[in-house]
């Protein structure tokens, strides 16, 4: 029951928003998001770290299609659910200083998005997963289309068609698997796993690509990333936060849950290719980030680099790689949220995001500068920040997989330091100019958002063990099941 409440409470809250007066929508939405956070924390306290998928529910829904409302939470799901439920209240709170037109619709769409995201992370039925996956796209598309910036019509449409085309491949793949299941067919995850593993090598590699393209577009991994920088830049900042903080994790989660265990043969065949294109993406995106003039666009490219490393780590199929990916997903989620929020604060005060027009903020806003420094250090993976734990594990995993690739992937830390320090230099240090001279330091509401995030960045960096423990047994089960398959195949 708790799982259903977790999924559908945000939807109910989204509908309820329209009962209240529009000017109260933000407060109601915040309260709803906090209640959702409490629900997820209750689940954490009842969660058995050593156990199999828990809180499971399985209700037949559309019998003629073999679809059932089948959901469960294991360690991997739980961490991502937590990321969602922690970030959404902050995202809503971060919008308080801004007045959006049609606020009920705006916050309703954010909460609907939260429902779909949680649904994606807990679904245990192939078609249900696909449905939540697509439903997540609709609110974010409208958030970007209605409240976005210049030229948003064209850019958001590209985003929509790109991701829709990707997920159609996934749907075709899932339907193909569905017809391979025995008897009257089912979309249940275990049946799909078995169906996928029984396929021939050629079928598995075709299926690998059908599913991988969908996930790669969502993450996005080079060369499927072309929609991303424009979309991140043009979206309203809350949309960017949802996209980069949570939505791209859908793609990574998809690889872990719906690609690796479904077609282990295909992954064995193409894993190396996936690692290589991920590593290429890291270097490519980092280099582009270095020359960006627009602050928001720079962070968009840095996000591609970070996701590339996560994807490379996962395809090494090692416990540290996947564990590193789990922790890095959380870390990247909160860091990128904080970075986009800082950009929004700067934009709000100076009306520009162009780095060359900024400068000297350090002299007038010491608190903001301190917060930015800590977040930045998290982003470049300095020890004792959350970024370090994840990147260390991931680079370690890639290094053990293939030393040369590990070395190249390791360059990301250096490149990351280059573009982030350059950003710091251009925006924070130097002389104040006429745009930044009257810069006001963080307000109380902004502190309320950024302080907890900074604390989280340091806390996860110093003591990541409890989080790692949550996903450990699920990751081991996953790796165990696929090594069994590859062992029996040999």
């Amino acid at each position: 029951m708790l799982t259903l409440l977790l999924i559908f409470f945000p939807l109910a809250a989204a509908l309820l928003l329209f009962v209240f007066r529009p000017q109260n929508a933000k407060v109601v939405a915040l309260i709803a998001a906090l209640i959702e956070l409490i629900i997820s924390l209750v689940i954490v306290t009842q969660f058995d770290k050593t156990g199999a998928p828990q809180f499971s529910i399985d209700i037949p829904w559309i019998t003629s299609l073999g679809l059932s409302l089948s959901v469960a939470i294991d360690g991997i799901s739980l961490l991502l659910v937590l990321l969602t439920t922690v970030l959404v209240p902050f995202i809503i709170l971060s919008s308080f200083s801004h007045t959006y037109e049609k606020p009920s619709t705006f916050y309703g769409l954010i909460l609907t998005m939260q429902m779909a995201l949680v649904g994606v992370f807990v679904a245990r039925d192939g078609l249900l997963f696909y449905l939540f996956w697509e439903v997540a796209l609709i609110p974010i598309y409208f958030i970007c289309l209605i409240w976005g910036g210049e030229d948003r019509g064209r850019i958001t449409f590209k985003f929509f068609v790109y991701t829709l085309a990707g997920s159609l491949f996934m749907l075709v793949g899932l339907v193909y698997l569905y017809f391979q299941t025995p008897g009257s067919h089912t979309f249940a995850i275990q049946a799909l796993y078995e169906a996928g593993r029984s396929l021939s090598a050629t079928e598995q590699s075709l299926l690998f690509w059908a599913l991988f393209v969908a996930f790669a577009i969502k993450m996005p991994v080079f060369p499927f990333h072309t929609w991303q920088p424009d979309t991140y830049t043009v979206s309203p900042v809350q949309g960017t936060m949802l996209l980069s903080g949570i939505m791209l994790k859908m793609g990574i989660y998809g690889v872990i849950r719906w690609l690796i265990p479904v077609v282990p043969g295909g992954v064995a065949q193409w894993g190396m290719t996936a690692v290589i294109i991920s590593v290429i993406g890291i270097i490519y995106a980092s280099c582009i980030a270095i020359v960006q003039k627009d602050f928001k666009r720079l962070i968009a490219y840095s996000s591609i680099a970070h996701v590339g490393l996560i994807s490379a780590g996962i395809f090494t199929l090692s416990a540290i790689g996947i564990q590193g990916a789990m922790i890095q997903m959380l870390s990247h989620g909160i860091i990128v949220f904080a970075l986009f929020y800082i950009i929004e604060i700067i934009f709000d005060r100076t009306k520009t995001r162009t780095l060359s027009e900024l400068g000297g903020i350090r002299n007038v806003a010491p608190i903001l500068t301190t917060v930015f420094v800590i977040t930045m250090l998290g982003s470049v993976a300095l020890p004792f920040t959350s970024g370090f734990v994840g990147e260390f594990l991931l680079i370690n995993a890639v290094f053990q997989y293939q030393a040369a690739l590990g070395a190249i992937a390791g360059v990301t830390i250096i490149l990351g330091a280059v573009y982030m320090l350059r950003t710091f230099q251009k925006s924070m240090s130097g002389e104040t100019n006429n745009r930044t001279s009257s810069f006001v330091d963080l307000t109380g509401q902004e502190k309320l958002v950024l302080y907890p995030i900074v604390i989280l960045i340091i806390l996860i960096g110093v003591y990541p063990t409890p989080l790692l423990e949550i996903s450990e047994s699920a990751v081991n089960t996953l790796l165990h099941s696929i090594t069994e398959v590859t062992a029996s195949a040999n």
Binding site: I62, T63, S64, L65, E101, K102, T105, Y130, L131, E134, V135, I138, F142, L145, I146, R152, G153, F157, F160, V161, L164, A165, L168, V172, V175, Y176, F179
Partner: protein, 459 residues
Amino acid sequence: MNALFVITGLGIFSLLAEFGNLKKWLTGFVVAGLAAAVVLAALDWNTAVPYFSHMLVFDNLALAFTALISILTIIWFWLSADYFTTGTHRTDRTSLIVFAVVGAVIMASFNNMAMLFLGIEILSMSLYVLAGSRKDSLSSTEAAFKYFLMGSFATGFLLFGIALVYGATGSFHLHTIAATLTANPSGLPSFFYAGVLMMLIGLAFKISAVPFHFWAPDVYSGSPTTITAFMSTVVKVAAIAAFVRLFSTCFLVVEPTWSKVLQVIAVLTLVIPNVTAVYQNNVKRMLAYSSVGHVGYILLAFIASPSETGTIFYYLTTYSVSSLAAFSVLHLVEGNSEEVTISYFNGLFKRNAWLAVTITIAMLSLAGIPPLAGFFGKYMVFAQAIRNGYTGMVIVAVITSLIGVYYYFKVIIAMYFNESTTPPVIELRASHKTLLFVLIALTFALGLFPDMIMSLFQA
């Protein structure tokens, strides 16, 4: 059958309503009668009684289509209330619509070629007049004339086909023909097959399948919007019902004769209208092409498995509900203008959020975006085709539905992105708001619970 009696009675009553002071009650009375017809159809469920020496058979498929046609007409009366209140010919128009519904029900329940012909003619005659019912408008008159010419042409094909089939088999009855075919697997004269193909062409005109669709965009965009809504939902449902009934029972034995032809027609119907719709700037014309395109998906499902009528019925239901939603909004947005371009929708979200949200949902559903009804319709069609080995056609259909996303989204982007050039805020009456709400709710409900419909077809 009782449903048919009731609807025919309503038609006659509508004619008589000119006498006495019955006019203002007429619409309400007709809607109540149609609701009664739905109930009567439900009561007859699982009986499959033949009437008039097997001229009509109300089996479950016929009853399901009767109920669907009646429900769609009820919703249609709701959205087009002002079509009857403005202008003078209230009773005439009502009776024409009701007689069209009579024709539609006969097309869904015929068991005899003569009844098929009668049903089509009753339906078409009413529509020729209705298409031209905006007498002061040149395009409306043109639409009526074009529709009449093309319709008669198609009827000619159909009649010729019926005659040839009769000549070869000696019967008008579907079951007798089917029995003759099974008894003589190779012994029928070749003009029989010509007859089957001519009937195929005649019905392809009626369901507006490519390359027999040329009348549809002109007629749809020339007719009054409410009549277009009627044609693209109720009439389309009836035409498909007749098509499915004829080819899945009577001509199923000679499937090789028509299946290749129909496959070509289906692929053309998927590709050409969807591509043409991209270039339309007139929303009504775009919806007309989109409506032709949807026939392609239905034909795909039919080719894959002629006997699985559930998928086709579900697809038609979802398509009709979404189309009614789209046409309702179009009707409310257009005001008195004859040609509604996409720019009419600029900034609609700010001018009237109700209208914008409704047509957004309708467009998303027609484009096949989950979790709306249209997605499940397409999904079932594709799954049925893959299961029966028509993967190549499914790939074509997937590509055309992506093209569909492009033109449906043109309207959506205009509403939320473009600045409004025609500023007036549109005020809605409470009844219109309720109608839009019901259509949105139906679009969601059909999507979330398709088993409501599909369970009807599980034996």
